[in-house]
Amino acid sequence: MRGISVEFPGVKALSDVDFRLLPGEVHALMGENGAGKSTLIKALTGVHSPTTGVIHLSGERVTFTAPGQAQAAGISTVYQEVNLCTNLSVAENIMLGREPRRLGGIDGRATRAEAAGLLARIGLTIDPASILASHPIAVQQLVAIARALAVEAQVLVLDEPTSSLDAEEVEELFRIMRVLRAEGVAILFVSHFLDQVYEIADRMTVLRNGALIGEYLPAELSRIELVSAMLGRELGTLHEVQRRSDARHPRAEPVLVASGLGRTGAIEPFDLDIRAGEVVGLAGLLGSGRTELARLLFGADRADTGTLTVNGQSGRPRGPRSAIAQGIAFCSEDRKAEGVVADLTVRDNLVLAMQAARGWARPVPRRTAEAVVAEYIEKLDIRPADPEAIMSTLSGGNQQKVLLARWLITRPRLLILDEPTRGIDVGAKAQIQKVVADLAAEGMAVLFISAELEEVVRVSDRVVVLRDRRKVAELTGDDVSVDHVMSVFAAPHAHTGAVAS
C-alpha cells in the first residue's frame, strides 16, 4: 500500500501512509486509538475507499470498493468485535457467501462437512449445526477465525482478535497463526497487548495521528521505545503510575460487605468487603465471573442468595437506582452498549447520572452543570474539550473518560470499574489509572476489574481472584503480585464444577 490517504467529511483519518506486508510474516500494526489502524485496515479490506494512494496485491494494482471484492482477491479479515450473524448456525457463518452448491441449490450437508473440517483445523470441537448465539463470545471469535481460514487467503487481517480470548485460547490462536505463516500467508495483526506482539510479530509498523511513524523489527525496538513511538512523548505519565497504595491508609469501616451473595449460573456465593480509601482488584480469566460479580453488587442483575450491607443497611440489591442512591457507581465493560449515549452531547452524557439521581423534575441548574462539566473535562483531559461535542465523535479513550467522569460527578462512595482501560490507548490508560489512585487517596472505595494482571496488581491494595465463577483467593500486602495471581489461576482445580455457558 503506498501513499494511502482516507478522508471523511471534515476529518483526515489517514494521510499518506505506506505499508507493506510480506508473505509468510506476522506484521503487527501498532498505534494508539485514533492513530488510524482501523482506517488503514478498512482501506485494505474495501470498507473505505482511499481518497488517494494505491494498493498493490502480489504486484498487481487493485481497487476495492466493497468488502466482497477484497475477499475475492484473497484478503480475509477478523474484526475486533465479532462480525458474524448470531442467528445463523456455526457452519452457515463459516461458509456464508461461498457455500458449496449442488443441483442448483446450496448443499447443506457439504457446508457442514467443510465447516467441521475448518473447525477441526483450529481445534474447536463444537457442533457446526448449532446456532452461533448459543456459544460464548470467545468461541464466536474463534468461529470468525475459522471463517477467515475458509478462503485460501493470501492475506489474513486480525484486528484485535485476542481481546475476548483467555490465555489458553490466545496460545491456540498463535499456534494457528504460526502454521499459516509457515504456509506463506501474510498476516496483519493488531493488538493492544504488547506481550502478544513481541511474542508473535516478525515486524511492526507504528502509526500515530493518521501518519506513519516507522517500520521496525521487534528485536530492534524495546517496549519502552515502542510505547514512546506510539505515544509520541516521553514516558513520564507511565512512570507516575507506580504503586501508590503504600501511601494510602484504608479506613477500618467497610463501605460494602457482601456475604454469601450469588446468582445461579453467573457466580457462586461469595463474601467480599471493601473499605473506604482502598482499591480492591478483581482478577480472573475470561468467564471467571468478574463482570457477573460486579453486576450483582450494583444490582444490574438480581442476586439469588446472600445479602449486601452498604453503609450499615443490609438487604438484597434491588437495582441500579437503589445502588446509586446508596453511593455505588458502576462503569460497564461494554462501553458502546451500556455506557455511551452516542447521539447526545458530552455535557448530557456527563450529567446523566447526576440528573437521573435527582429525577426529571429537578433539573441540574445550568450554572452548576456548566461548572462541573468544565471541571471534569479539564481534570480528565477530555478531548475535544467541547461540552457540545456529540459523544459518538469522541475516540474510545475519551468516551471512557466521560463515562468515568459521569460517575465521579455523583461523588460515589464506591466506584466499580469493569475493564475501564480495555481497548483504549496507552495514554488514556495511564491517565485513568492515575485518577483511580487519586480517588482512593481521597477516600473513595474502588473495585477495579481488568483482564491485564499487571494493571490490577499495580493499581490495587488487595486482589480478589476468581476462577470458574467462584472466589478462590484474596491476596493482600506483599502477596499482591502478578506471579502470585498467576499461580492461583494455575492451581489445581479444587472443584470440578462445570463451566456454564
Partner: protein
Amino acid sequence: MSTLALSPTRLPQRFLPVMATFVVFVITFGVGSFRYEGFASGQVVANLFVDNSFLIVLAVGMTFVILTGGIDLSVGAVAALSTMIAAAALDAGWPPLLAVLAVLATGTGLGLLMGLVIHHFDVQPFIVTLAGMFLARGLCFLISVESVSIDDPSFRDLATGTIALPGGVTLTYSVLIALAVVLAAVYVLHLTRFGRTVYAIGGSESSARLMGLATTRAKVGVYMVSGFCSALGGLLFSLYMLSGYGLHGVGMELDVIAAVVIGGTLLAGGSGYVAGSVAGVLVLGTVQTLISFEGTLSSWWTKIVIGVLLLAFIALQRLVVRRRP
C-alpha cells in the same frame, strides 16, 4: 479447548414458534369441528386456502422483508393497485397476458423503487413503504374512482375454474399459484445465497456486509420480492373479487403482518420461516370461518381475536427468546 464443546438442543427451539402456530391452528380447527357439524370437512379446509390464497402470497413476500428486519406497509395498497390495473387494462381491451405482465412489472417496479430509497438514502422502511402505500392507493384513484368490474372471459374462467380432488373437495387455480409461490420462496430462502444473505442481514447487517455478502442486492431484492408478491396477490384478489377497486384490501397489510408474526417470524429479523407465515394465514382464516359459522357474532370480533392471538404469540416469542442462553 474441549471444555468449550457444547451441544445445545437446537431443533426443537428453533422450530418452536412455527410448531406453536400449527398447534394453535389444529386447536382452533378442533374447536370448530367440535362445535359445528360440517366444520371438519375437507371442503372447509380447502376453502381456507381458496379464500386466503392472496393473503398467503402477500405473507410470503412480507416474510422476506421482515426477515431482513424491515417492514412493508405498502402490500395492501399495491395489491389494490394491481386489481385496478388489471381491471382497467382488461377493460381497455388488452390481452390478459399483457395485463398480467403489466401488473407484475408495476408491483416489482414499485418494490424496487422503495428498496432503492430505503437502501441508498437510509430512510426508514416504515416511512418509505408508508409513502409507497399512499402512492399506490392514490394511483388507484387516478385510474378510476369507481370500482371497475372484470368481464374478460379468460379471467372469469380462471376465477371460476375448479380442480376436483378426491372426496368431492374442490380447489381453485389461485390455490395452486399460491402454493407454487410458497415452494419457490422456500427454495430461494434456504437453498440460494440470496436467501442466506436475507437471514444474515436480519442477524446483523453490518456483519453481513463485512463478510462480503451482496447485502445491497438482498436488501433491495426483498422489497422487489414483496412488490412482486403484492402484485401477484392482487391478481389473485382480483380473481376472487372479479373487480378492480382502490378500496380493495384496506388494512390488509395489518392482516399480513399479523399472519407473519403469528407464524413465528421475529419482527427484529433473522428468524422465521415461510411455512410459519402460511400457518399464520391459516389461523387467521380459521378464526374468520369460526366467527362466520357462529353467525350471531359480528365481524369485528375477528379483529379482537386477531389482536388477542397476536398478543399470545408475542408472549410466546418472548418466552422462547428469554430461555436462550
